[in-house]
Subunit: 433 residues, 2 copies
């Protein structure tokens, strides 16, 4: 039986859940993993929170120094979040030779190289399963479950807040602003929702996951990002009619031509396994060259689901002496000359509001023809389905779905259509199969 001491920095939602999980499961881990994991110390300024969690007074550390100099602390858990203090504390812990387990996606996305270098130098580990998709073991899977494959693509619903909002909009026909307000009231969205709804959170996670999947560093600055704040309920309803479901997807593709990484609202066929991932559930769908399609589904956030990932990393670190530095492998062995594709290919859904006069359709189709874009579907959808309201009696909504084309081509077509003077493109949504 092995004895391991841990310290927890930051006892908020995830840190508090981690403390509770470790305390409540101590006997269970002793029995099933042959390891005795003891919380030696915690660090948090909010003493009332520590009281509420029932942390014994003698375990409350006064400073990070007290923790990194404590010889009984083997593993430091960082659940503070953000860069400043979190990075300073993690740096101190690694410098003192303590293995670090963190749930901090922004820090790992931006500084994994620097931190892994430090970990390697000090012969300790750096684990971050909890940084992506909460309790779903996607990082362990990439490292040790599907590593026999060249991963060709990944598509993930990796943010619970936006998935909750889009699910509500789809099932209740509610407006974005209305659902966001409700989500904030329920604690599913922050008072300042930017990190979630504008796709930053998904972008950090995609950077981490695609770097591991494609064995090369994918900087977040290379990721095309578009959030959900401009999503219109009408498009969700029209899409449903055409057999599509709208999700905020984090997409990575590794093709012969280069790597393509993007976060944006995406229509997928309603029969796709990702289409039925609802509410705050998350999922990652990948294609490996041997394995084919594989999907992991589960809770992407929340105190206990995220604690599950933190503590699974702690147990892994406590029961394995080998450390596999994932990012390090990337820098040292990967092809440095990765080509990133910004003018990526996609199919597109467009909603236009156009004059209700003869010849309009011919003019619009003509623009697509001249831009070299083929169309799958052109539909005056509100005329087909009488439940859709038409707001302006002189205008009609027109929905178009294209075959695969490129960003440059579609943007060119949109500009030309808007210049015709017969209406305008109101929405442009990418479509994946």
């Amino acid at each position: 039986m092995k004895k391991v001491g841990v310290a927890i920095l930051g006892l908020g939602v995830v840190g508090g859940g981690t403390y509770q999980t470790l305390v409540e499961h101590r006997e269970f881990y002793l029995k099933t993993q042959n390891v005795d994991i003891n919380v030696e110390a915690v660090l948090d300024k909010a003493l009332d929170r520590l009281m509420q969690l029932g942390v014994p007074e003698e375990k409350i550390a006064k400073s990070i120094d007290e923790i990194v100099t404590n010889p009984n602390v083997n593993i430091v858990i960082e659940t503070i979040g953000g860069i400043g203090v979190a990075k300073a504390f993690v740096t101190a812990a690694l410098s003192a030779g303590k293995t670090v387990v963190t749930s901090n996606k922004e820090m790992i996305c931006k500084y994994s190289h620097e931190l892994e270098k430090l970990a390697k130098k000090n012969r300790c580990g750096l684990y971050y399963e909890a940084s992506c998709v909460g309790g779903v073991p996607i990082i362990r899977t990439l490292l040790d479950g599907v590593q026999a494959n060249r991963i060709q693509s990944m598509m993930g619903i990796v943010n619970g807040t936006t998935n909750y909002i889009l699910t509500k909009m789809a099932y209740e026909g509610a407006d974005y602003a209305e659902v966001l307000k409700e989500a904030q009231k329920l604690g599913y969205a922050e008072a300042n929702p930017t990190a979630d709804v504008d796709g930053y959170d998904s972008m950090y996670k995609l950077s981490i996951l695609s770097s591991m999947a494609f064995h090369t560093k994918i900087p977040y600055t290379k990721i095309f990002r578009e959030g959900i704040s401009a999503v219109n309920g009408k498009d969700i309803a029209y899409g449903k009619e055409l057999g599509y479901t709208l999700k905020l997807l984090a997409i990575g593709k590794n093709t012969d031509k280069g790597v393509e990484v993007r976060v944006h609202p995406t229509f997928i066929p309603t029969s796709h396994p990702l289409a039925s991932v609802n509410d705050s559930f998350n999922a990652v769908y990948m294609v490996g060259d041997a394995l084919g399609d594989v999907m992991l589904y589960g809770r992407g956030a929340g105190a206990l689901p995220t604690a599950s990932a933190v503590v699974s990393d702690v147990i892994y670190a406590a029961t394995h002496s080998d450390i596999k530095y994932s990012t390090f492998k990337n820098t040292e062995n990967a092809d440095k000359s990765v080509k990133f594709i910004s003018d990526f290919s996609s199919a597109y859904y467009l909603r236009l509001s156009v004059d209700d006069t003869a010849g309009v359709l011919a003019k619009i189709s003509g623009v697509f023809g001249k831009c070299g874009i083929s169309l799958i579907e052109v539909s005056q959808i509100a005329h087909k389905n009488k439940t859709f309201r038409v707001e302006d009696p002189n205008r009609v909504p027109l929905v178009i779905v294209t075959h695969k084309t490129t960003e440059n081509r579609i943007n060119n077509a949109v500009a030309r259509i808007n210049a015709l003077g017969i209406g305008e493109v109101r929405s442009l949504i990418r479509v994946e199969q």
Copy 2:
């Protein structure tokens, strides 16, 4: 960079796929895993198959002795299947200190304790990710991804053949016998389909997976088993009408009262994530006490998906010096006095064929009442939906869904109803939420 030599025993579907994967990805593993995996030797009597795979003549071993005495062979891959030769060869390899990677579910289900004891004695590893759910990394997940949790339950679609048959029956309204014949023609079902359709394959996998999930040996002899050969297309259609989808599920539950393990056709709500796992796809749905619901989905069979699991194990063994014996942990640390529940609780769907006369419903409801079983739904379903044919003008089909009760109670109720002389119970199908 590490050099590792492997030998493959049995170059059939999975062994052949493994050979191809290792040869084709050798450079890729060198670059991404920093390990050079060389196929040193293969063993198979079918020389024409080896020629077809392009195995160089000098790599073809003449006997297992030649392989276990070869100092360049570090890892032996067993993809023969069954017990006899496979177990003898695996025993020889482990005895010689060679780490073994196997896809053999029957052997692992029946002899994992004996083989792990031997592996431990000889300080080598025994890996068997490929024995369950093909390329889906369910074993790695149980060992190193969700180990922070007490797993409370698992429900799996772990056999591709039966899922293909049930999907066809559901979508095409075809009969069992007809679909089985078609599946055999396409190579999805064996000439002797017993292992798949009678649930033996699912039973072996459930034994392995629930042993790992519940940290105690679950012998296959404790598993209640019922196959799909008696499934009637009518029940699939009636179930659909009631919002249920029929799947062959491998179910394990670990409750305060004991462990309950069973394989049988099961109705689940059509909105359940497992309900949309179609064709030969597999999935395992688990509930952990911290993590909540989690699902892994992917290809449960086939040459390359299964090779993905075999080769991922080979890479793991080649890049980690720590060996975690999963079954060993169970025997040494688990509670020896596990209680198995045979009289388990479930909700039930029953289809009866009864006389079309007044008072029949009252008599039948009376039996359920006397047996202490509450009903959720009683429906003369064929009267509600005119597309259902009624075969006997004097008889009507009656569909009943019960609340949770026990096996003993429901069997008692069925016997009493059949004794009434007013009709009989034609189908009894368990229902899970």
